[in-house]
Every structure is written in C-alpha cells, then in structure tokens.
Symmetry: C2
Subunit: 384 residues, 2 copies
C-alpha cells in the first residue's frame, strides 16, 4: 500500500503527549489519523484528522476504532487487549502485536519472559496479594529494602515503590504485585530499539537517566550516556536480544541498570515511544516518533545516529501547586543556545505531573549538561 | 504577556504549507492559533485551534480575524493591507508591520526602496502598462534579453519571465510591471534574517539555490552555500542592511545574485518563512518556523547555526500530470540516511506545483548533494 497517496488510515489508542509528538510526524507525511482518548482536552486532539472520545480499556470502543483503520497503534500500554486480539484475527494490523503487549502489560509476565529467555534481570518474586509479602518477609524470602511493583496499570512512577520497612507497604494497593531485589546500580540506562513490520531493526545510542530521588521520575536524560564503550556495547546487545525475543513492531524502550560490576540488568520495557527518547527530536537523524511511524508502516528505518549531543529535562508540576498551569521564566531559558521547550498542552498542573520537557542540544555534552542544569533550575511549572 | 500560560491568541493569514510548518512550532509551544485561508482543504486546517475559511484579500475577513487575536502574522504577501493598517491603529500587533509589507508587496516599490537605501540591485525600469515596454524597446531604453515582473501578485515563479524576443511578452498580463537587466550571475543565494519585535537580529548561513531552467523554480537549496567566505560575508552584510532599513518583524528571506565579479545584488525579499529556509527544520539549531514564532512573540531568538549540512529538494508536480496526487518511490528514498520528506497535503497535483519537499542532511555536504540528486531523480509526483 502506498501510504503517501491513498485512503490509508492510521489509528492511535491514546492521545497524550506521546501521541501528540507522533502527530508531528503524521502531519509531516500527510497521513490520515484517528485518535481516541478519554479526555476531551487530550493533547493530540488538534493535529489528528478525527478525534474520538472513548475509554481505552473498553472493548467496544477499542474494537470500533480498529474497524475504521488499516493500522492501529498505541501510545500507552493500558488498553483493552482482548479487543485488539479480535481485531488482529480480523486482519487489522495492530502494533505492537498483542502477543508482545500481553507479555509487557503484566510485570510479572514480563519478568518471567526475561528469565525464560536468559535476559539478565534483578531477582524477583510474584505475589497474588500484597498481604503475602509480609509472610515472605517473616520467613526470610523477601528482605528489606526491596522494590514493590503492581503487576498492572503502573505508569510514570505510580505503582512502583521502594520499601524499606513494613509501614511503607501500608498505603499500597492490595492486589497482584512483584517484589524485586533493590540493585545498588551505578547508572540507569535505556536503549530505544526500532523494529519494523518486516523485521528490520535499529538501535539508538545508549542514554543515561538521572532520577529525582523521591518522585521516582527522570530529571535528565543524557545522550550519549557517559559510560565506557564496553558497557554501551553490552547494553546495546541486551536490548537487541529483548527486541528479537519479543518480536515487537514499532519502538521499544528498554530500561536497564548498570550494576557496580558493570553488568547490565533489564528493568522494564515500554512498547512505544518513550520519555528516554524525546531528546531525539532535536538530536537525532530520525527521531523516535518518526521512526515509530516508519516501523509500523513497514517503511525503511531511518538512521538512529545523533547529529549532536542531547539532554532532556522533564518539566513537571512543582510541589505544592495544583490548578491552571503557568510556566515561568521561559524567556530566560530561551536565551540559551540549543534550548527547545515542548509544552504538552495539559491545562492543569499538579505535583510531579509531566507537563512538558526541554531538550538542550550542543556539540559538546559537557556544555549541554551545564545548560540543562540552568534550565532545570530556572523554569517553574506552577499554578496560577 | 506570558505566552506559555495565558489566553494569548495568534492569528495566521494564509494556511498553506508555510503555515502548516509554523503550526508544528505553535503545537510544540501549545500556542492557541486561528488560521484563515480561502480553501476548505488548506494544509494548515488540521493543527490550528480554529480555522476560518475566508478571502485574504477581503477587508472585512482580514479585519474580523485581526479582532480575535493578539498578534496577527502572514504566510503569504497577498493580503488586504488596508485592513491590517486599521488593525495596527487599533492596537493589534501585525507582523510584518504594514509599513514594511507595503514596500515589499509592490515590486517596483521594493526596487525603489533598495535604490533609495543604497542596497545594490539590478537596474530596472517601471511601467504602468506592459504595452509601454515595446516603446522602450524601440527607443533602446530596454534591451533583450530582460526579466519581466508583474509588480503585484506574483508568486512561486508566476509573474516573472525571461523575455528574449517580442513574442515572449504576448501572453503576459498587461498591467503594471518592471523590467530588470538580466544579470549573468554566478550563483543565486539567499540569507534568512530573523528580527524580533524588540529589534534583536540574527542571520542564517548563506544558502545557494540551483534553479530549474524552464520553470523558474528552485531545484536544490544547499546550506551552507559553496562560496568563499568573503562572498558569504558580503551577502550576510547586505541582508543585514536590508533588514535594518526595512525594520521587519519575523523572518525575512533575502534573495540575491552573486555576479561574475563576486558582487552581491539583491533580487527580492519575502517577509515570512521561505522555501530557501526549509532545510533548517532538520539542519539548524532553530528552524525558521520556530524562529518566526519567537520573533513575533518577542521571545529571545534561537541559534541560527547548523548542526549538519542540509540540502532541500522541492517535490513539484511532474509535467503532464494533473489530478489526484500520487507519490511514487518514497520507500526507495527513505532507505537513504538523513532523508526526510515533507508532504504538504495538497490533494491535487499539476505541473510544477509545490507539493512537498525532501531535506537531506549529512555531516558531509558532498555526500548530501549526491543523495539529494538521487532523491530528486527517484521520487515522482504524478496523478493517479
């Protein structure tokens, strides 16, 4: 099918900022898009050809969208997978394929997938109920400190917690979860892998993620990661192995830990464009969003190399502020070279909500990091 | 005014591909936009917050749009300037200011402006009617070959013609026009100048334009131009002088000739983002569209430097094809490194119509030029 001159229709489940950034690319290629999101103010609402307000977890809503399009993709993992499977059976191309999505959606299944495929990952245990963890602690099966993760519906730092004492478990949901050994890692890394429908694969350079200690959210994403070539090579190989075993289509973000011994452990994956790849809009030959579109349309993948070093700073709602958003000191940071803000278009801010990001590019990564810190300390995302 | 968190509204007269590419930037910054265009299928219709179908030359239509916005800008010079002047008097910010637009809109006025400000330009004569040219030819005032230009409403190669013999004048419009000496130039160059509302100015690197011999349209735009530093410096200085004397706000594209003696003559200017700056989306730290938005919003200008060399190839309708468009061989060119197509979204093709462009970036300009030629010879823009 000639996507550039036809009645081709591309559907998106989810219309948040990831979808919005994919829509820059579909507009560039003049591809007809239909987006569904539960919010009438979804960031993707403008820039798509048709917008449908609907619940992504609702079988009928997802199925009906799928029947209108040739290819259906996602910008978030929390979607009705049964409807997607039905659509696949009926000949709609769904990317990522539901086979891969089922493995990824449930964190216990995901961990088992790594173990089954000899992909290194932190030791873990699976629990049907949170209450079972206490028994395990009592008999020495689980030791403090550990990571608690809900197996489903965790997103953006929610559904993940470091547990250092029994009281830390109290406010957490009671359902199915896993506990993971707390790895005293040296660095958190990520590799974005693009895999097209015909199996062509390319990886992006390894990126390094610096985290906010409390909120479990990324503060800086740095590309290229400041690690040795041998560690980068290892990370790249492991990401390729995950991709090859999963046989996803589109973008796959593989988040990893670099241990104190310079080993690589896979933390988790996301089968869609990812925060760790936003730097690519300004820094890469082919950004992750355009790449995702190329991959699911089965077009040749573009170069994943970087033109310049890139560092992304997340713009998150300031603590203590909830309400109509206001961005302060934007003019100040726009005076710096190589600074590009992205404002997602969410009207309401609340503490730690992802409201946008700023990418700093520079031929020199040291300079980029200095400017990035200045940006982070200057911009304020508060309520009016 | 804090554009990033307010009720600020930005208006656009014209919703073609230039507007569409400016809307990538307004979406990035989450700026509320209202676009007016006469076509219900205008490329900018998607990606703006509000679209109004209206005639850009109609006083009331332009005036009414202006009353809805805080700042009004243009993507095409053929707009109702009287309405814009009225809006300026009533406190709406119009960029470019109508004072500059009036000079530019009429090519005779534009030429006189260069002469009055000692800006080098090819000798010319002004005629109220085309018929007067014949008299001038008879008395030796105008010699073959020369360039004929309509003083108003010329766009994209229309309204300009090389006249080598009397018969060449026959099919041309009969109204006000200028004739220019045909300069045996060595190169055609352009410099994009950004000037913000508060007067901050930045120039882009000099670009070189290779033209299609017949259609008077650009085939390749090459950045940086393959010229000596001294010629580049001269072109840059002259562009800065034009900008300073015109006191435009926003982007100004200054098209120039490099003569056989390496002198620079100004050909014409456009007070808006321009075809010669499209390469900047992939090649520059701040593309011309984002820069135009920064300039008219009085935000600090971004770096105009290039990350990599960039060459733009126009995608124009093939000769002999008119009708619903089809783009052929896109997959072929997408296999090449650094190739990014832009499809404007016009549904109908006709010979030489600008349907899109492809930018080729590469650290090495020689490699970029090779790939650009391959792209140009591979993609076909035909009718279904």
């Amino acid at each position: 099918m000639n996507y550039f001159s036809s009645d081709f229709k591309l559907g998106f489940l989810g219309g948040g900022q990831l979808g919005k950034m994919m829509l820059y690319e579909t507009r560039k290629f003049d591809i007809h898009t239909i987006v569904m999101d539960s919010s009438p103010d979804a960031p993707s609402k403008i820039s798509c050809n048709e917008f449908i307000q609907g619940d992504l977890m609702d079988y009928d809503a997802v199925y009906n969208l799928g029947k209108k399009v040739d290819i259906l993709t996602i910008e978030i993992e929390n979607v009705n997978v049964s409807a997607l499977t039905k659509l696949e059976e009926e000949g709609v191309k769904v990317y990522p394929p539901t086979r891969a999505l089922r493995i990824i959606q449930n964190k216990a299944k995901q961990k088992l997938f790594y173990v089954d495929n000899n992909i290194p990952t932190a030791d873990f245990q699976r629990f049907a109920y949170k209450s079972e963890i206490e028994d395990s602690i009592d008999n020495g099966g689980v030791k403090f400190p550990f990571i608690w993760k809900a197996t489903q519906f965790g997103y953006d730092g929610q559904g993940v917690k470091v547990v250092r004492k029994l009281e830390d478990l109290e406010d957490l949901p009671s359902g199915e979860c896993i506990t993971e050994v707390l790895v005293p890692f040296k660095n958190e890394l990520a590799v974005i892998v693009a895999r097209s429908a015909n199996g062509e694969v390319k990886t992006y350079p390894v990126v390094e993620m610096e985290f906010h200690p409390e909120a479990n959210q990324v503060e800086y994403v740095i590309c290229p990661a400041r690690i040795s070539d041998s560690v980068a090579k290892k990370a790249n190989e492991i990401a390729l192995k995950v991709s090859d075993k999963l046989k996803h289509v589109g973008i796959l973000a593989v988040e990893m830990f670099q241990t104190q011994d310079d080993e690589i452990l896979v933390n988790e994956v996301a089968p869609r464009p990812h925060n760790s790849g936003h730097y690519s809009i300004e820094a890469s030959y082919t950004n992750q969003f355009e790449q995702h579109i190329r991959a699911i349309l089965n077009l040749p993948l573009g170069s994943t190399e970087s033109k310049v070093a890139g560092i992304m700073v997340n713009l998150v709602g300031a603590e203590g502020h909830t309400g109509d958003v206001e961005y302060q000191n934007m003019e100040e940071i726009l005076k710096q070279d190589g600074v590009t803000p992205h404002i997602y278009g969410k009207k309401q801010t609340r503490p730690f909500r992802k409201m946008g990001h700023v990418t700093i590019v520079n031929p020199d990564i040291v300079k980029a990091r200095e400017i990035a810190e200045l940006v982070k300390n200057t911009i304020k995302v508060i309520s009016q």
